[in-house]
């Protein structure tokens, strides 16, 4: 504050024009400009142009907002988007319901083998995975305990595969019922709140091994396969290529675990 007047720079003149300057420096510049008609004219032009630009564009800020820029509406749309997976799944359930009446069970023959497995997986998704609050029986916090318990009930070692590299975090798992006894269900969720399940149960017959097969139930996509007599199905809403990739990853992980 007590130092002699600092030289006035180009930047000072801009800061003067834009009012980004403290009062003392402002005074110094005013004194400087009084003695420099050239600089004073330059600054006057800048100030006038600045004001003209503000005036010219002022209208844009005064127009009424179109509905697409209504923030409340955008927030609501966003919430609706996040709820969408549950709504989709409700439609799947409906599709399955129609399937029951219309053909799947025609002639009282239940689907068998891998198609039965896929169907159970889709039903489990529709019933459990869509529940926003309680999709699982045992949360991921008790991962070990859950794996131990499910392995015992299925009479076969099962553990939730790690899908975190693909953005899906394990929420937990539950015991589920199948025509062939106990089944294990693992539920995952990605950052957008989309859920994915892996459904595991022993197959009725032998120690068969199949290729990974695509399944489709309404809006749901996924894969099913059998490894050494144990059936696996991975189901989520949409994006089959990604689900196929994940299925391959799961199969590898299960095999690596022995």
């Amino acid at each position: 504050m007590n130092q002699p007047v600092r030289p006035i720079s180009e930047e000072d003149l801009h800061a003067f024009v834009d009012g980004q300057i403290d009062a003392e420096r402002r005074r110094e510049i005013e004194i400087y400009l009084r003695e420099r008609p050239d600089a004073a004219e330059r600054v006057a032009t800048d100030i006038a142009q600045r004001a003209a630009l503000r005036e010219a564009f002022a209208l844009h800020a005064q127009q009424p907002l179109p509905p697409q820029l209504n923030l409340t509406r955008l927030v609501e749309q966003r919430l609706a988007r996040r709820r969408a997976p549950w709504r989709t799944a409700a439609m799947v359930l409906l599709t399955l319901g129609l399937g029951v009446g219309g053909g799947w069970w025609a002639g009282s023959r239940q689907p068998t083998g891998i198609s039965a497995l896929a169907r159970e997986a889709a039903m489990n998704f529709a019933v459990y995975a869509v529940d926003p609050r309680r999709p699982v029986e045992i949360s991921v916090a008790h991962r070990e305990e859950m794996a131990h318990w499910l392995s015992r009930r299925l009479d076969h070692p099962v553990a939730p595969p790690d899908l975190s590299a693909a953005g899906y975090e394990l929420l937990g798992g539950r015991l589920s019922a199948s025509p062939h006894g106990a089944a294990a269900l693992f539920v995952y969720q990605d950052a957008a709140g989309r859920r994915l399940i892996i459904y595991v149960r022993p197959m009725a017959t032998g120690r068969e091994t199949t290729a990974i097969q695509p399944i489709e139930a309404g809006k749901l996509d996924g894969c099913a396969w059998i490894d050494q007599g144990i059936g696996y199905s991975l189901v989520a809403a949409g994006d089959y290529p990604k689900l196929l990739e994940l299925s391959r990853h799961v199969r590898q992980e299960v095999r690596a675990r022995g």
Partner: protein, 166 residues
């Protein structure tokens, strides 16, 4: 935090319209900006500097849209100013507005952005640097070069008009 964001929407529209020279494109850009801001809202710890944050989001969207699009706004014809500025046509100073806006539109985009953010949006030089992701020194040199050109352009026919506004 939503009220603070809402308060910035008019300014975002103004900047986008000046940048894109089309009201529709501008509102689309602002819309995308708001959606992105809502997505990223949870990453913010406080309310500080919401304005600069929103402008930065919009700037980044603008850049990535620009990269994707074949038609560069820079090379597009100036367009009819009457569409954007027609409302002022009956006013005495409309000639001056049109002149300055025309000159502004003739500037390289990097200078135009800095002038708009500084002169019209009242962002500080530091905020502009953050929004555009460039050093403050670069902000100042773009501002200098831009204003220099505007000034030169003003030195001819509308000189008296500029004086009057002041």
């Amino acid at each position: 935090m939503l009220p603070q964001i809402e308060a910035c929407i008019p300014a975002l529209r103004r900047y986008a319209a000046a940048l894109l020279r089309s009201r529709q494109d501008a509102d689309d850009l602002v819309h995308d900006c708001l959606v992105r801001a809502l997505d990223k809202l949870h990453t913010r710890r406080d309310d500080g500097d919401i304005r600069a944050w929103l402008f930065a989001i919009m700037h980044n969207l603008f850049i990535s849209q620009r990269r994707r699009s074949v038609v560069r706004p820079d090379s597009a014809p100036l367009g009819e100013q009457a569409e954007i500025f027609g409302v002022r046509a009956d006013q005495e100073s409309s000639l001056l507005y049109r002149e300055v806006v025309r000159e502004l539109n003739g500037l390289p985009e990097e200078q135009r952005q800095v002038i708009l953010l500084v002169s019209v949006e009242d962002l500080s030089y530091t905020e502009v640097a953050r929004v555009l992701g460039i050093p403050v020194g670069t902000v100042m040199s773009r501002l200098s070069r831009g204003r220099e050109r505007l000034r030169r352009a003003a030195q001819e026919p509308v000189r008296s008009g500029l004086r009057r506004v002041k």
